[in-house]
């Protein structure tokens, strides 16, 4: 696994922040400030791509691709692919897939280039299109590791990464590929993007407090999360140590409203993920919620969880780590699955921070403010997107 988040570079920085409840939300810094009312975000600060890639690569890539490359290198190293040769020299061939989700692709480049071209009358960069395209991250990773199998982006807003991971797992499971490099990346903290979110009135001006009374919205984040998926036999043959098993994946569409979430669709995705794992809902020990901190999402997610967990709803810890790493849209589900897997490995449930008081409409155990030690054998990570697209993943300890 590999991660870039507002908490820092690497999985350790992300997991430490999640486990200790340390928020990376801060005042953001942008080249053209002053156009937004909200001034906070979970921004990746002091990211210097030159530490990780060549000048040519930097010239060819948007920030979202750069995040994906850094996260993927970490994931590939951890998976043991740099033992015998440099990662860039790998040629994994046509049985390797790269699937990277993104909500909106190279938005930072687009925002800057449009401003420079239209307002400042500067020249447009000739590589604008290849930089901005949503499949840029997946394509760069395929080139970097010589993956000649299926390579594509999944773009379904906040559910992008869970779908990318789930589809990757299915390709491995069905024997179409031996390895899938999957995850999500987003780097869209730009003035126009933040203003557009602001106009939807779902951003909090102060604190993101999922499932809490007095909550008033979410905080935008950015980053990338990448995971390397293989079937158990292939991983074993390479001498790799599996971190977790992707046991089930479920995805559904509300087919209802573009922006208003629907408990039936959310529950359908969870039910499919649990059914796919061959386990019973009673096996779920922890849920990493979508938990945006908006009024509607948290009520709808609570209702959906009630239909899945029934009377166990109050006994199963359900936390949202979004107040820590922000809502990184297309990357969020990957960051959250990485946190979920670490929670399972260490037996620590990360807290929902900034929590003030119960909301009777979110009648669950949100693990308020303090992490909790608890064995986790099976966990579920949820994501629900604009467009009514829902995706859930169930992970278990490796068998």
């Amino acid at each position: 696994m590999g991660a870039v988040s507002a908490a820092g570079i690497g999985v350790d920085a992300l997991w430490t922040a999640a486990r200790t409840g340390h928020s990376a939300v801060d005042k953001f810094q942008l080249p053209r400030d002053g156009k937004t009312t909200i001034k906070i975000a979970a921004q990746v600060k002091d990211f210097d791509p030159a530490r990780y890639m060549s000048a040519t690569q930097i010239n060819l890539t948007d920030r979202f691709t750069q995040f994906a490359i850094v996260a993927a290198d970490e994931a590939m190293q951890q998976a043991g692919f740099s033992k015998d040769s440099r990662l860039e020299n790998l040629r994994l061939g046509d049985r390797a897939a790269t699937i990277i989700g993104t909500g909106i692709g190279g938005y930072t480049s687009l925002d800057n280039m449009m401003f420079n071209f239209l307002v400042s009358n500067e020249r447009l960069h000739p590589m604008t299109i290849p930089r901005v395209m949503s499949n840029a991250a997946a394509s760069h990773l395929s080139m970097r590791y010589g993956c000649q199998g299926p390579a594509f982006a999944v773009s379904s807003a906040c559910s992008s990464a869970n779908q990318a991971i789930g589809i990757g797992a299915q390709l491995v499971q069905s024997g179409i590929v031996d390895i899938a490099i999957v995850g999500g990346s987003e780097a869209s903290i730009a003035t126009t993007y933040l203003r557009a979110w602001e106009l939807l009135r779902v951003l909090t001006p102060d604190f993101c407090r999922p499932f809490s009374g007095g909550r008033n919205g979410m905080t935008i984040g950015e980053g990338a999360g990448v995971l390397v998926l293989e079937n158990a036999e292939t991983a074993e043959a390479r001498g790799a140590t599996p971190l977790a098993e992707i046991a089930g994946f479920g995805t559904s569409s509300d087919a209802n409203d573009l922006v208003r979430p629907d408990p039936h669709g959310a529950a359908a995705a969870m039910r499919k993920a649990i059914e796919g794992s061959g386990l019973s809902p009673d096996a779920i020990d922890y849920v990493n919620a979508h938990g945006t901190g908006t009024i509607m999402n948290d009520i709808v997610e609570s209702e959906a969880l009630k239909t899945i967990l029934g009377p166990r709803l109050k006994d199963v810890p359900v936390s949202s780590t979004k107040p820590i790493h922000g809502h990184a849209i297309g990357a969020s589900a990957a960051l959250e699955l990485i946190i979920t897997i670490n929670a399972m490995r260490e037996g620590i449930v990360p807290p929902t921070i900034n929590w003030l008081e119960p909301d009777p409409k979110c009648d669950l155990d949100p693990v308020p403010n303090e992490a909790r030690k608890q064995p986790i054998r099976t966990a579920m990570s949820n994501s629900f997107a604009f467009g009514g697209i829902n995706a859930a993943i169930v992970v278990t300890q490796p068998s």
Binding site: R201, L203, N216, I295
Partner: protein, 96 residues
Amino acid sequence: MDTTAATTDRAAIEQQLIDLFATDGMVDRSAIKPDATLESLGVQSVDIMMVLMSVEEKFGVYVPIDEKLVETKNLQGFIEHIVDRIIEQRKSGEKQ
């Protein structure tokens, strides 16, 4: 500010907000009555966004969607919530 002036001020803001609902919320002005529900006026989420954007432009107040706003049942409740936020903001502005 004395009570009468505050009441007049409040009434003036309310009238401005009703105007915003008619123009930006695309609501038929003749159908606007205090007890009319947003649903009966055909107000959709996109209309609310447009109204709240205009509130921000006109009064400089960011109104997030919180519990109180979601729980308002009719146009009057909705408008009163926004007026409260505007007056709240003005008071905190005066203190500074």
